[in-house]
Symmetry: D2
Amino acid sequence: MNFASDNAYGAHPAVMQALVDCNDGAVMGYGADPVTARATAALREVFEAPEAIVRFVATGTAANALVCAQLSPGYGRIYCHRDAHIETSECGAPEFFSGGGKLITLPGDAGKLRPDVLKEAIRIGAGEGLNGGCNAMVSLTNATELGTVYSPDEVAALCEVSHAAGLPVHMDGARFANAMASLDAAPADVTWRAGVDALCFGGTKNGAMAAEAVLFFDPDRAEGFDYRRKQSGHVFSKQRFLAAQMLALSESGLWLDLARRANCAAVRLAEGVQRAGGRLLAPVESNAVFAEIPLAAHQRAVAADAKYHLWPDASAERLDPVPVRLVTSWNTPQSDIDGLTAILCGET
Amino acid sequence: MNFASDNAYGAHPAVMQALVDCNDGAVMGYGADPVTARATAALREVFEAPEAIVRFVATGTAANALVCAQLSPGYGRIYCHRDAHIETSECGAPEFFSGGGKLITLPGDAGKLRPDVLKEAIRIGAGEGLNGGCNAMVSLTNATELGTVYSPDEVAALCEVSHAAGLPVHMDGARFANAMASLDAAPADVTWRAGVDALCFGGTKNGAMAAEAVLFFDPDRAEGFDYRRKQSGHVFSKQRFLAAQMLALSESGLWLDLARRANCAAVRLAEGVQRAGGRLLAPVESNAVFAEIPLAAHQRAVAADAKYHLWPDASAERLDPVPVRLVTSWNTPQSDIDGLTAILCGET
Amino acid sequence: MNFASDNAYGAHPAVMQALVDCNDGAVMGYGADPVTARATAALREVFEAPEAIVRFVATGTAANALVCAQLSPGYGRIYCHRDAHIETSECGAPEFFSGGGKLITLPGDAGKLRPDVLKEAIRIGAGEGLNGGCNAMVSLTNATELGTVYSPDEVAALCEVSHAAGLPVHMDGARFANAMASLDAAPADVTWRAGVDALCFGGTKNGAMAAEAVLFFDPDRAEGFDYRRKQSGHVFSKQRFLAAQMLALSESGLWLDLARRANCAAVRLAEGVQRAGGRLLAPVESNAVFAEIPLAAHQRAVAADAKYHLWPDASAERLDPVPVRLVTSWNTPQSDIDGLTAILCGET
Amino acid sequence: MNFASDNAYGAHPAVMQALVDCNDGAVMGYGADPVTARATAALREVFEAPEAIVRFVATGTAANALVCAQLSPGYGRIYCHRDAHIETSECGAPEFFSGGGKLITLPGDAGKLRPDVLKEAIRIGAGEGLNGGCNAMVSLTNATELGTVYSPDEVAALCEVSHAAGLPVHMDGARFANAMASLDAAPADVTWRAGVDALCFGGTKNGAMAAEAVLFFDPDRAEGFDYRRKQSGHVFSKQRFLAAQMLALSESGLWLDLARRANCAAVRLAEGVQRAGGRLLAPVESNAVFAEIPLAAHQRAVAADAKYHLWPDASAERLDPVPVRLVTSWNTPQSDIDGLTAILCGET
């Protein structure tokens, strides 16, 4: 029973098949191959963005950090939520790639930035002079690190604040598919139509082996990006294998199907957690459940070798109830959800 | 009337004279000159540290950022107070010099880190795994950014926590002289005897033109530091002129005299501020006064072209009382202090 | 007919099968999985190095640049051949990862560094003082960028020069398998027994999809390397898929079989090129043929859409004979070799 | 007798006086002071460039590296002469500041780039694709590292080649004054009128204590430069002291007078060297003499403790004749020149 992360499970069979299918013959490397062209076209169609620059990398950290470096100079201020993955979980990658960019972290309920808080922070930043660095960009995550989802209107409100200050907006979409599965909207509605300038569209957590797409909706924003990708070792020689994964997910609508599955699993799991006396810490809007559970329930789960993370860090173990993060994926067995529920409830 | 910063005033005449005195003749550049040797010896004596590696640079940001890069890898976590100069006022220099180091900022009253808060933060950081980066170093400022002063015992307590976790300690001593003038202790007591590994000893705010000394009390910590200094453009060809300034300050005890003057000016100013209905926001232990003053008093001061900063940023102007930062220097005229007091009190 | 690069062909079926085989079930991410453990063990066995630190990344540029950053500070001098991949083909990745390291490029016939040239360069570097930066490391490529192979004795001679100056040695082994297939030696003989400190062992050109192993033979050299890998976005969440590729190649000896195939194809191709009036520019010791071919032959090949690169760059097209680089792979069809030969000879 | 560098001598009395003169009173820091305004105006007048952005730093390495970072991204190719100071003498500063920029070094007689060689190198670079990085900028030094001087026409020819490829041109003018003293032209003729985009105008070697000016003739090129300067620790709080030095040199024409003195001293020295049997290795056009001198003469000079450098490095000591670099300054005593001549000639 693994609820530690949505990367605990492997790749969807269709992704595997796509890798096998594109394995024959010789093609030119570094992206000059037909699979890359097809995957690019497929993503442009998904996003109704025929001019978008689309690039593929293997990890979410690479995608996010490369975009941060693209949108912020080394002396830039990068505004994000204090729980943002780029702040908490990328080992300083945005700082490294950008040459020293400073993440300005902001509070906000349920993992979400608030327009008024953002606006005030940007205002203060603008007054910092040389000492504080230069306002550079805003980064938001959808679905958020707390499993909540920004609506198109919410994204638009944040982008409006950002753009009013001349700052481009990056969306970390490691779980963008889960956000879309939760919304009644088109991908374009939550991204470029709402003002997002660059999106990291995650494949890995969505059923790929290791593949993420970076989309620049305004091609001018992508100038030099390929060199940046190369210089950081993120251009694959046999790039068709990255592209094939994203193609398999995006061409057929599979990405949404898989995200819906993961989201449904989370809803079911949330019900179980609540049945076991747990209290949700954030609305379950994508594929994660944040909850406080009774210490006894947690101890039973640990004893049964169920895997998940304490939240926000391991020191939570000393608390009762214990705050935990449980993540479901496209491939989480229903039996595992029911099994964990039973354990938490003390029914086994 | 300038209370904006202790860098508003120029250099002490003795510093100027020292520059003139060392101007004659030809010497080898880049530090291979007799003035550098004398200044090094003088500082070793001040700190009772005959083995210390002593280097000179021209700005505090350079000194701090170079030491951060020396003590932390690019993937390091650098613990500091949330008001630390390296966090708020160096435009991302520590991140840039270190290649992406992440500043982990901690709360603490009156600008001071607390050992228990530091210990807990280090503990959490150690559990972050690759995502959070690697615990690397602790930085503390003395006198602090709030004008308070760490005692030898307080420094020792923080160093003990740091060293217990294997982390070296950097002291940002841009106003180290002001701290010493406030303490009944030897420079060694507040630095290496208390556990500090590297000190940035500020000359600029203390009466130099532009000169800071970096001291590594354990010579092994300084390996490669000269290359780092050179690669960042901080090795002067005519280095004697940097060294001469520090020599003039340190050889004669002038550094302490000047700091005492500045500290006394702050005490007098604090009295005036309180007389004008102001309330101190932090104890006045060095050469800065943080206070809330009545809006009307502030407006009178602005009208009289008195220069000082709102705190923590310009948005404070909308408040009544107005939080402000007033800094005195070795050369602040007593008449300016009395003049500002009169204005704040509405007596002119 | 694609002789542009050994990355033109896909992955070997056994590699594909290994990916499929490890796809089931949930495992912990970031390397804490059983496939990673098995692949690590397999590589340690191949290299008779039970203590070696083994890490997996997806690209050769990442592997090389990470090792350069590991072995050289930002102010370091990195000695390499002037045709070294790290110099000519990685878009400044070693400079970026290391924070400014300077590649000192040296001449040498057939892509090989010479011990006497290296020794003299290191000697000069040591005398450069701060201006020139600090001697840091030596990097050599085996098989070289000219398709030649260093023998164990040749490697040992270079390592001896390096170590005598205190400099660690990195081997770029993007085509290490091809080198081994050409030598009558054990992998350990050409690496750690000869003095190599860190090896980038290429899988991608050898039949993997995208996988390289980094081996530090002295574990102390690897301190902090995982953070470095994470900070640059090169830690895969589903790392088993990287490890599975290297496992498939290394566990069974497949890596050597495939390299032998590629090398044999090169020998056969070299014969064809010579029959067509071409003149070899370097001995054919691995899987590349560098030759001058008659302009007319080149023009026939271009007309037939045969793909290969001019050498050292596209400006060579103006010459007659034309210098070219032809690369074979584990999967280059014999019919393509014979076909190209016929075209070059004007027999079709 | 010190001919090691033009930084061996101190500051001109007028520079010292300017420091003293601006020492009184309190002014705002970081450049918001009247001396900075006056120095800026003076330099704009010298260069007939009323719109130029003018900034002050303390070292030539800082000036050059900051401009390289301003004009080149991390993945950029920076074209320069193989003897360029940025290549040989700045410890990788351009690479560090730019985040990995690669210096592409070109041959050329007497320290000068040739337009045809530059054009061909840029052409090759443009064809390198991602592997080679992106053509970014051209850097040339005037006076050159070999003491020769580019004429306005020569500069214009190089700028034309650069601009035709879309690349901006940086001029390292650490000895720009010496170049101007040698030419019958206006400063504007050798810089912006000839196409130079950014100039580092050296004060330190010209009689300042430690001061260099950076001029961007097109203000758009300077966007963000102040943040860059701050982030690297090169913004002085008491900036008037930097500006005052450049003001003293530039306001009065002193810079040209001092450079003429240094140049005349070099001519006289060159005569002496030739009289002693030396052979000039480059025309003496500024304040340096590159020559081969008889070993015996060199040994006499060493015995008399005369200071100068072997060229290009210390290994030259094994040769007879010995190649040497002798540098004169605004303050080199004529008696030292005559004294060295006598020693070299064996007349003492």
